[in-house]
C-alpha cells in the first residue's frame, strides 16, 4: 500500500493533500498497489472526499486527543498505520504539519526521507524522488535503501487529478493522550488568504517599493488577479513593518506559483533561489540591466509606481482573476 497522510480544513481536504493523494494514486497504479488515505483530528468529516482523488481505503482516527496537532501523536499514528497495513511508501504534503511530522514518522520507521519533492517515480519497486537542493539552484535525484520510503510533496507542483477510488473506510483508534508536545493556540491566522508556499499567483515587492505603505499598490494588484503579496529580504529587513513570513528566497519561503511578478526586485541569487520554480516570471524594474530580467518570461522596464496601478486597472477591465 501507498499511504498518504491528509489534512482537513473546515471539513475539506486541503489542496496540497489532494495533490499528494493524486500523485499517490499515480504511483500506486505504477506499482500495482492500493492507495490509502489517512486522516486524524477531533473530527474527520470530509475525509470521504479522498475517494475522488483515488483512495482505495480511507483511514480515520478521530477523538479529542487529536483535536490539536501533536507531533509525537501524529507520528505514532502514521508509523503504526504504515506498519499495520504493510505500506511501503508514506507521503504527506510539505506543509507546516507535513514537514513537522513526516521526518519524525520516518525515523520511527527506520525509513529514508526526502522532503519537499517535485517529482516521484517507482523504480525497481522503490520510490525515487527528485528534490530541489541549494534552494533550487540544483536538483537531486534521491534513491532509498530503506524498506519503507517517506516523502513530502511540494505544494503547487503535482496536479490534483480527480480519479475515483473504492473509498472503503476504516476507523482507527485515536492515541490515548499525554503527548510530549502539543499545539495550544493558533495565532494570527490570516483570514482567507492562502500562504505564499501554496499561492498560484504572487506579487512581490523589493527595495524599489521605497516604503512599506507602498505595498498597498501590490495588494490591490494581487486582489485584482487573485494573488498573494510577497517581498524580498531587503524589503523585509528595511524596517517597513513587513513580517518575515512574507520573505521569498533562500532564507525565506521557497515558492512555486504559476505566476510570480517581481516589482522593484533586482534578482539577487538568494532571492532567485526562492522563486526560480515559478512557471512564469514577470519583472518590473526601472533598471534594464537588473539580473531579474534574465529569469523573466516577460519584462517591463519602467517605474513600478506607474506600471503597477496600470496593471491593476487593466486587470479589472479585462475581468481577470474573476475566474
Amino acid at each position: 500500500m501507498i499511504l498518504v497522510f491528509c489534512e482537513l480544513k473546515d471539513g475539506q481536504i486541503r489542496k496540497p493533500s489532494t495533490e499528494a493523494l493524486s500523485e499517490g494514486r499515480r504511483l500506486a497504479d505504477a506499482a500495482g498497489k492500493q492507495l490509502g488515505a489517512l486522516f486524524a483530528g477531533a473530527s474527520c468529516a470530509g475525509a470521504a472526499e479522498a475517494a475522488k482523488f483515488g483512495a482505495d481505503v480511507i483511514f480515520t482516527a478521530e477523538g479529542p486527543t487529536l483535536a490539536s496537532y501533536s507531533s509525537d501523536a501524529f507520528a505514532t499514528l502514521m508509523a503504526d498505520t504504515v506498519k499495520a497495513k504493510g505500506a511501503t511508501v508514506l507521503l504527506a504534503a510539505a506543509t507546516a504539519v507535513g514537514k513537522d511530522v513526516a521526518p519524525r514518522a520516518a525515523a520511527r520507521l527506520g525509513a529514508g526521507y526526502a522532503s519537499d519533492v517535485t517529482a516521484l517515480s517507482i523504480v525497481d519497486g522503490k520510490l525515487q524522488a527528485v528534490r530541489p537542493v541549494y534552494a533550487g539552484k540544483a536538483f537531486a535525484t534521491t534513491t532509498f535503501s530503506s524498506a519503507i520510503q517517506v516523502a513530502t510533496t511540494r505544494p503547487n507542483v503535482f496536479p490534483a487529478a480527480e480519479k475515483a477510488g473504492a473509498g472503503a473506510t476504516e476507523v482507527l483508534p485515536a492515541p490515548a493522550g499525554d503527548f510530549k508536545s502539543v499545539v495550544k493556540e493558533i495565532l494570527a491566522k490570516a483570514s482567507g488568504k492562502v500562504d505564499l508556499s501554496e499561492a498560484n499567483v504572487i506579487v512581490s515587492g523589493g527595495r524599489g517599493m521605497k516604503d512599506g505603505a507602498n505595498f498597498k499598490i501590490l495588494e490591490e494588484l494581487a486582489d485584482a488577479i487573485g494573488g498573494v503579496v510577497g517581498a524580498s529580504r531587503a524589503a523585509v529587513d528595511a524596517g517597513w513593518g513587513l513580517p518575515h513570513s512574507m520573505q521569498v528566497g533562500q532564507t525565506g519561503k521557497v515558492v512555486s506559483p504559476t505566476l510570480y511578478i517581481a516589482c522593484g526586485i533586482s534578482g539577487a541569487i538568494q532571492h532567485i533561489a526562492g522563486m526560480s520554480g515559478s512557471k512564469f516570471v514577470v519583472a518590473i524594474n526601472k533598471d534594464p540591466e537588473a539580473p531579474i530580467f534574465k529569469l523573466a518570461n516577460y519584462g517591463i522596464v519602467g517605474d513600478l509606481f506607474e506600471v503597477v496601478p496600470e496593471l491593476t486597472k487593466a486587470a479589472k477591465a479585462l475581468g481577470i482573476g474573476s475566474n
Binding site: S71, D72, A96, D100, P103, R104, A106, R108, A111, G112, Y113, S115, D116, R131, P132, V133, Y134, A135, G136, K137, A138, A140, T141, T142, T143, F144, Q149, K180, S181, E185, I186, L187, A188, K189, K193, V194, D195, E198, H244, S245, Q250, T251, V254, S276, K279, F280, V282, L295, N297, Y298, G299, I300, V301, V307, E310, L311, A315, L318, I320, G321
Partner: protein, 249 residues
C-alpha cells in the same frame, strides 16, 4: 541546564553550483563554507539562555576536518565546548540524526537546538528525526522560545500565521529567522576560543535511508521578452500575453 547546539557547515549562499565529476555531489572547488544561517539563530538562542539563567552550551557538528571552522566560530561566540563527530562521506539526515543521538544519549542535555533546515540540503529533517530517536518532544521552525521548569513554550511559523507549541523538556527545538538577532564574535571571544580545544570523536557508524544518486542543474529558462510602450501599453500587453500565451488567467 545543559544545551546542545547542532551546527552544520554549508556552502555560502552566493555559491555558484557546479556538479562534481561523480555526477551526484557538489564540486567543492571555489566553494566558500559557512555555518548554516539557521544554526546561527540556534546558537544565539543557547547563548542568550546561558546569559539569562546560566547554562552549559555544547556546540556539535558532524563532518570532516574543515568543519572545525564552524566549531571554532561557535566557541568564539560563547559556546563552552565543542565536539566534532568525525566521519567521511555525505550521509543523509537520518544518518546524522543517529550519530548525534548516539552521542547525546545519557549525557543529560535538557535542550537541543538546531536550525530548522540546513541551507542547501534543505531537508528540514535532522531535528525531528533526532527528537524521535531520543524519544523527546520537538518544536520546529521556532520564532520565539520560553523555558519553564522542565517545560517549554514555543511559537512556530505555520501557513499564514503561527502557533504556540508547549511541551516537556528535554526537547529538540529548531530555529527560524526571527528568533533572535545573532551577535558577532568579539575580539575577546575569539581570543578565548583559541585556548579551547575541539573534542574530536569518531561518529558511531550508522546507515542512511536515502542517497543522492544524481545532481543536476535546472534547465535554462527560455529567453524572455520585454514589453514596449508607455506604462498603460506595457500593462495591457502583459495581461494579454499572460492570458493568451502563458494561459495563466
Amino acid at each position: 541546564m545543559k544545551i546542545l547546539v547542532a551546527l552544520k557547515q554549508v556552502p555560502d549562499t552566493e555559491t555558484k553550483i557546479k556538479v562534481a565529476a561523480d555526477g551526484r555531489s557538489l564540486d567543492p572547488a571555489d566553494v566558500k563554507w559557512i555555518t548554516s544561517p539557521y544554526d546561527e539563530y540556534a546558537l544565539e538562542e543557547a547563548i542568550r539562555i546561558k546569559e539569562a539563567k546560566g547554562a552549559e552550551v555544547v556546540a556539535l557538528s558532524v563532518g570532516g576536518d574543515s568543519t572545525k571552522e564552524v566549531l571554532k566560530n561557535a566557541l568564539a561566540l560563547g559556546a563552552d565546548s565543542a565536539v566534532l563527530l568525525k566521519g567521511d562521506g555525505q550521509g543523509d539526515a537520518y544518518q546524522v540524526a543517529q550519530m548525534i543521538a548516539a552521542y547525546v544519549k545519557d549525557k543529560g542535555f535538557d535542550l537541543i537546538l538546531c536550525g530548522n533546515k540546513g541551507l542547501g540540503g534543505d531537508n528540514a529533517a535532522m531535528g525531528p528525526m533526532l527528537a524521535e530517536l531520543l524519544n523527546v518532544a520537538q518544536a520546529n521552525v521556532i520564532v520565539k522560545l520560553e523555558l519553564g521548569e522542565g517545560t517549554f513554550k514555543a511559537e512556530r511559523e505555520i501557513e499564514g500565521g503561527s502557533e504556540i507549541v508547549e511541551g516537556a523538556l528535554p526537547a529538540v527545538i529548531t530555529a527560524q529567522k526571527g528568533l533572535n538577532e545573532p551577535r558577532y564574535a568579539s575580539l575577546k571571544g575569539i581570543m578565548a576560543a583559541k585556548k579551547k580545544t575541539i573534542e574530536e570523536l569518531d561518529a558511531t557508524p550508522a546507515t542512511s535511508g536515502a542517497q543522492v544518486s544524481a545532481l543536476a542543474l535546472p534547465p535554462e529558462r527560455p529567453a524572455g521578452r520585454k514589453l514596449e510602450g508607455d506604462a498603460a501599453a506595457q500593462a495591457q500587453a502583459l495581461l494579454q500575453a499572460l492570458k493568451d500565451e502563458a494561459k495563466v488567467f
